[in-house]
């Protein structure tokens, strides 16, 4: 008995040791190549080529696969990997950086059929990073793949392109509205109805072609093989992502990128990230995160490597307008009157520019904050008005559950907003949901929450991109409050057929209409921190309104 025990112990212990060794061996093979210090000696001015830049972020992309992900974090990365037919200008700060230019296509598309057909022509002789030539038929395949995985913005395809819905529902083998010809290199896209923002959609990396044989499933661990300036290196999903320069990239007129490699590592402790950049242990603080107030003072002193850049975002609370208590206009107006946008801005370390309009400053159709009806966004809340409206509504004492996101400063917004509702006389309780599932939770048709937080970063610089959030008949689940106003819907459907700058004032009027009906309680547009280590060439690496971090332009000193 004893001998058996001893032998088996020995065997088990040996197995354990082997396990440990194997495990450690495994980790050693996964050598993480960092970091900043390796190639920082050459700090000559005037734009160095090569080197490695280390990005630290508090929030991971949902996936490295552009066919699934639609987050700003992901877009920063795969927009360098997956070049679409069209693309946005790079290396330009401000609104000018959102100009659409040809990417894989020779030129901007030909619009025919009363705005219902867009025809692209592929540049000849292009290759993916693995050497496979790019063909016109790769584009419809990518779109089909988007619908299968599905892409988080799949409704752009399914709702607006002919046959998209049928394909998404499994009723068709292909998307009938996309016709590609490999010989001529043309891709004709037929729309359900005229829809001007479709050019923006074809500038998104999600619509970029993928080589034949790319599986129609989320490739979160590897990313897809792309055609952009960079290709994927090792990925640990949710934790670290590597981009390596694609030497085969050669598209006339497009920049090729300066840095050899980017590492993007995620640490939910944003303070630690800011510290790391401050101490030059990392190079880039991801602009998708909020700089904690705790380090703001120190960061602000680094004027040569920090600035706050206004980007096209809107932050708001939405109301369930179809049920008590917020089906009552006065109740909604009372909330708008009682909000103090300055307070909300402070919660965001002062990065908010107070406003009540959904269309942000950098996009056509923006209205001035001075036209906000219930309170001055740059002043205190109008509590007397709020009390009066509340009285009129008769909703005092109504219970409401307020939904909000866990991630700072969103939970703080929630605390504040709940306080406002309670001070108005509602019986408000909070429900904090983990950031990873927040929007899918509140968007679930089974939940139908009363009121909650929402934010929107532009997908592309088009007012439609914002106003569609409250479209009652768009079939999307972004309209968490189920706002359904016939006038609003009709106007939206009319305006989206026109290029935005032609109907700018009408967009502004629609926005104002919704504000006056208190369909949403926008409280500001956020600026993002451009905060780099002292190794990065700050001036040559501006934030882009489209991409946030513009990795293709980024370079070391």
């Amino acid at each position: 008995m004893k001998r058996y025990a001893r032998t088996s112990t020995a065997v088990l212990l040996a197995a354990l040791v082997a396990l440990a060794v194997a495990a450690c061996g495994g980790s050693s093979s996964k050598s993480s190549k960092s970091s900043s210090s390796g190639s920082s000696k050459a700090s000559s001015a005037g734009g160095k080529q090569g080197g490695t830049i280390k990005i630290v972020s508090g929030t991971p992309p949902l996936s490295a696969d552009q066919g699934l992900d639609f987050t700003t974090q992901g877009n920063e990365l795969y927009s360098t990997v997956n070049l679409s037919l069209l693309t946005f200008t790079r290396g330009v700060a401000g609104t000018a950086g959102a100009k659409i230019i040809p990417g894989l296509a020779k030129s901007l598309p030909k619009v025919t059929d009363g705005g219902k057909t867009y025809t692209f022509t592929l540049r000849p002789g292009l290759h993916y990073s693995n050497g496979v030539p790019i063909k016109a038929s790769d584009v419809p395949r990518a779109l089909e793949r988007d619908l299968k995985i599905p892409w988080q913005a799949a409704s752009f395809i399914s709702a607006y392109i002919q046959g998209g819905m049928a394909y998404a529902n499994g009723n068709a083998k292909t998307i009938s509205g996309v016709v590609a010809n490999d010989k001529t290199g043309t891709i004709a896209v037929h729309l359900v109805a005229p829809f001007a923002p479709i050019v923006d959609v074809f500038a998104l990396p999600g619509t970029a072609p993928v080589p034949p044989g790319t599986p129609a499933k989320n490739l979160a661990a590897t990313g897809t093989v792309g055609d952009g300036q960079y290709k994927w290196g090792p990925i640990t999903p949710g934790h670290s992502y590597t981009l390596i320069k694609n030497p085969k990239f050669d598209v006339p007129g497009l920049p090729r990128g300066h840095v050899d490699q980017f590492t993007y590592s995620v640490n939910t402790n944003v303070l630690a990230n800011a510290e790391a950049v401050l101490n030059n242990q990392a190079d880039v603080f991801d602009p998708g995160d909020t700089l904690p107030a705790a380090v703001l003072d120190k960061v602000k002193q680094q004027s040569d490597r920090y600035q706050a850049v206004p980007l096209n975002t809107s932050w708001y609370f939405w109301f369930a307008t179809y049920k008590k208590p917020f089906n009552n206009l006065y109740a909604r107006e009372a909330v708008l009157a009682a909000m103090d946008d300055r307070a909300l801005s402070r919660l965001d370390s002062g990065f908010q520019t107070p406003d009540c309009h959904l269309i942000p400053f950098g996009i056509v159709g923006h209205s001035s904050p001075s036209s906000c009806p219930f309170h001055n966004p740059n002043g205190p809340a109008n509590l007397t008005l709020a009390k009066q409206l509340m009285q009129k509504s008769g909703m005092t004492g109504q219970p409401v559950v307020v939904y909000g996101e866990e991630r700072a400063p969103r939970r703080q917004y929630l605390d504040y907003f709940t306080g406002v509702l309670n001070s108005l006389g509602f019986k408000a309780t909070e429900k904090v949901v983990n950031s990873g599932v927040y929007f899918t939770t509140i968007g679930a048709p089974t939940l139908k929450p009363d009121v909650g937080f929402g934010d929107w970063n532009q997908d592309f610089p088009n007012p439609w991109d914002f106003m569609q959030l409250f479209a009652g008949d768009a079939g999307s689940t972004l309209n968490y409050g189920y706002v359904n106003d016939p006038h609003y819907n009709a106007t939206l459907n009319k305006l989206d057929q026109q290029p935005p700058d032609k109907v700018a004032s009408q967009w502004a009027a629609l926005d104002q209409y919704a504000v006056n009906h208190a369909y949403y309680a926008v409280f500001g547009h956020e600026s993002k921190p451009q905060f780099y280590s002292s190794r990065v060439d700050f001036a040559a690496s501006p934030l882009s309104v489209e991409y946030f971090l513009d990795l293709v332009s980024m370079r070391l000193k």
Binding site: L271, V295, L296, D348, D415, Y416, V420, E430, K431, V432
Partner: protein, 349 residues
């Protein structure tokens, strides 16, 4: 007893075995004039342990200060625990200062009646939140401990005394909960219940973490109690009670349970300390106390964001928690020495 083995030959170890009360004196029967029960003996031993009593005093002080927070805190600080005051100002040394600066930095400790320990991002008074948070933490700890004691004792009694089917069901259940890491189990269940609620209890109720902690730690009491009951049920006095026609319930609760009572009592402070710590972990991981309510755990988690500039935000709730747990632990040590010096206790988080 002449051959008292009191002094071991190994004096070097410094161990001196106290001569066992009861055996020497009481053997002859009734030389002591008054009847001295086991509880009174324990009380006497307890009273001699000054350190344990001092920490008990500290614990009571913390409890009183926190529990009575609603009575006085508003009068002093002029602000409730969940009341935002982001754009407000406060007078410090004659100067008006923003509670929360324009760039979002909350005011640090003022050491005056308003914002004594500073504000949080939402302009809430941290001192008030600390007291209310303590109240929440202690409430959760206390309720959880009650649940642990009740469930653990029932587990132990039914499983250990009735054996058979009860043991067959309860024992694997205890083993299951016990062999699962408390933090992970707590976070899984806490996350689910915070979103889903528990029957009539809403998801943001503090009774949900209390319930979870109580259930998770109940086997930590139930297992040793079961062992104790198994030992006790073999004693002849249990047979004597049965021979007199006492029913199993009555035997369990009036004959067996009083003999396990000292073990249970020894566990109370230990479980309270563990419950307080687990509450902090769950709240840190977002599966405990739900916003906007505070507990020491959520305050520590929030304070971590300011550890760079204002470490007191994280340190003070931390110190409060450590002091409370420490006082409970020290008192618990004293209690164990007094009641049951040989209790073997395994607790972990």
């Amino acid at each position: 007893m002449a051959l008292d083995p009191a002094i071991g030959p190994d004096a070097g170890s410094g161990v001196v075995i106290g001569s066992d009360q009861g055996s020497g004196g009481a053997w002859e029967g009734g030389r002591h004039a008054p009847a001295v029960g086991p509880w009174r003996l324990a009380m006497r031993r307890m009273r001699r342990n000054r350190v344990a009593l001092a920490f008990l005093g500290l614990f009571i002080l913390i409890v009183v200060v926190c529990v009575l927070a609603p009575v006085y805190s508003h009068d002093i600080a002029q602000i409730g625990p969940n009341q935002n005051n982001i754009t407000g100002q406060v007078k410090v040394g004659g100067q008006e200062k923003d509670v929360v600066a324009v760039d979002g930095t909350p005011i640090g400790p003022t050491f005056t009646s308003h914002y004594f320990l500073g504000a949080d991002t939402n302009g809430r008074d941290l001192a008030v939140r600390l007291l209310y948070g303590g109240r929440t933490s202690l409430l959760i700890g206390g309720v959880a401990t009650v649940i642990i004691i009740v469930l653990g004792t029932l587990f132990g009694l039914l499983s250990g005394y009735l054996r058979g089917v009860a043991d067959g069901i309860l024992r694997p259940l205890m083993e299951l909960i016990w062999s699962f890491p408390p933090v992970i189990l707590g976070v899984v269940v806490g996350t689910a219940l915070a979103l889903g609620g528990l029957g009539p209890i809403k998801g943001n109720s503090v009774f949900i973490p209390a319930f979870i902690i109580g259930v998770i730690y109940s086997p930590y009491l139930g297992k040793p109690i079961r062992g104790e009951i198994l030992r006790l049920r073999e004693q002849d006095f249990v047979d004597a009670a049965r021979a007199q026609g006492m029913g199993p319930m009555r035997i369990m609760f009036t004959e067996v349970l009083p003999n396990a009572a000292s073990t249970i009592i020894v566990f109370i402070p230990l479980m309270l300390a563990q419950a307080l710590l687990l509450e902090a972990y769950l709240s840190f991981l977002g599966a405990g106390v739900q916003a906007p309510n505070a507990s020491w755990g959520t305050l520590i988690a929030d304070g971590l964001n300011y550890i760079e500039t204002t470490p007191t935000f994280c340190l003070i709730p931390g110190i409060m928690l450590v002091l409370t747990v420490l006082s409970v632990n020290v008192f618990g040590d004293g209690l164990r020495d007094a009641l049951d010096p040989r209790a073997q206790v395994r607790i972990k988080t």
